[in-house]
């Protein structure tokens, strides 16, 4: 992936020298041309195009914003409800993510969405312990995190 970005950058710089105008707009034009060339010759590269991972990162951001709004509303409902009928609990979330930054990103996303907080990462980094305000079904809560955030992060990191 890093090689593809470097190649694209290189093509853009070569384009700047060919047209002998060293301006940002020429660079952007060269970058787009390089991107088209790389998409054309995608069978030469091992692994997926880096554009897909960029797309996955954008998708992750959108998912995060959506979850942020939805869970903020649900916490607001909890606060303004006259009767306190919540079911707080701490549950363990087994995770398939391996790298440090993936774990950190997942924990930050879980913590930033209201209603859930990561309180501990197990020593072997295979389990996250999460505190949630209102959970009726543990499996459902685990599934919802796994299907949204973990899947999206895995798409970014594995392409």
């Amino acid at each position: 992936m890093a090689f593809q970005i470097l190649l694209n950058f290189f093509i853009a710089v070569v384009w700047m020298f060919m047209t002998s105008s060293l301006t940002p707009s020429t660079f952007i034009v060269g970058y787009i041309i390089g991107l088209l060339l790389i998409i054309m010759t995608r069978r030469f590269f091992k692994g997926h195009l880096y554009v897909w991972r960029l797309w996955a990162a954008i998708k992750l951001t959108v998912i995060f914003l959506k979850e942020l709004v939805l869970s903020n509303i649900s916490v607001l409902m909890l606060v303004i409800k006259p009767k306190l009928s919540i079911q707080p609990m701490i549950f363990a979330l087994p995770t398939e993510l391996e790298q440090d930054w993936e774990i950190t990103l997942l924990s930050s996303l879980i913590t930033l969405t209201p209603g859930t907080i990561v309180i501990y990462v197990s020593d072997d980094q295979r389990t996250l312990y999460i505190h949630a305000i209102d959970v009726n079904d543990v499996d459902e809560a685990i599934d919802s995190i796994k299907n949204t955030f973990e899947k999206a992060i895995m798409e970014v990191s594995r392409g």
Binding site: W101, I103, T104, S108, Y120, V121, D123
Partner: protein, 140 residues
């Protein structure tokens, strides 16, 4: 008890550079806008202290292999040298000089000897603060 600090450490690896960059910006901003050697030095110290909090003393010493007492001494020498340099040109002690230069990449820039004095202050602040923290923290 050894806990798993993966979130703190990964975040520190990113945030350290942002704080360090901001400290350099504050240091250079000192002439026309708020900032300068002292605040810049303290911010750099803050970045290193964050490293010390996330990792341990030995790791940070491996990563930044400076003797911070020597850093303080270099800073003092730089400040004294800038102040004393004025005597050579037959003007009173601590007289600063400046001029405009055409630098590549920067364009027209005014270079001021107060900058050198400020770097001295910066080095003294970083060196002394880190020395204090390291000698309090390192009991072994």
């Amino acid at each position: 008890m050894k806990t798993n600090d993966v979130i703190l450490q990964t975040t520190t690896k990113v945030v350290f550079f942002i704080i360090f960059l901001f400290s350099i910006h504050i240091f250079f901003a000192g002439h026309y806008t708020p900032g300068g050697g002292f605040v810049g030095g303290l911010l750099t110290t803050g970045a290193i202290v964050l490293l010390l909090l996330a990792f341990d003393l030995k790791t940070v010493q491996l990563a930044l292999p400076f003797n911070f007492t020597v850093v303080t001494a270099i800073g003092l020498l730089l400040a004294l040298g800038t102040a004393a340099g004025a005597i050579v040109f037959d003007v009173p002690f601590f007289t600063h000089a400046f001029d405009y230069f055409e630098l590549p990449l920067f364009g027209k820039t005014s270079l001021h000897t107060a900058m050198l004095f400020d770097s001295g202050v910066y080095l003294v602040v970083v060196g002394s603060a880190i020395t204090i923290i390291q000698s309090i923290g390192g009991d072994d």
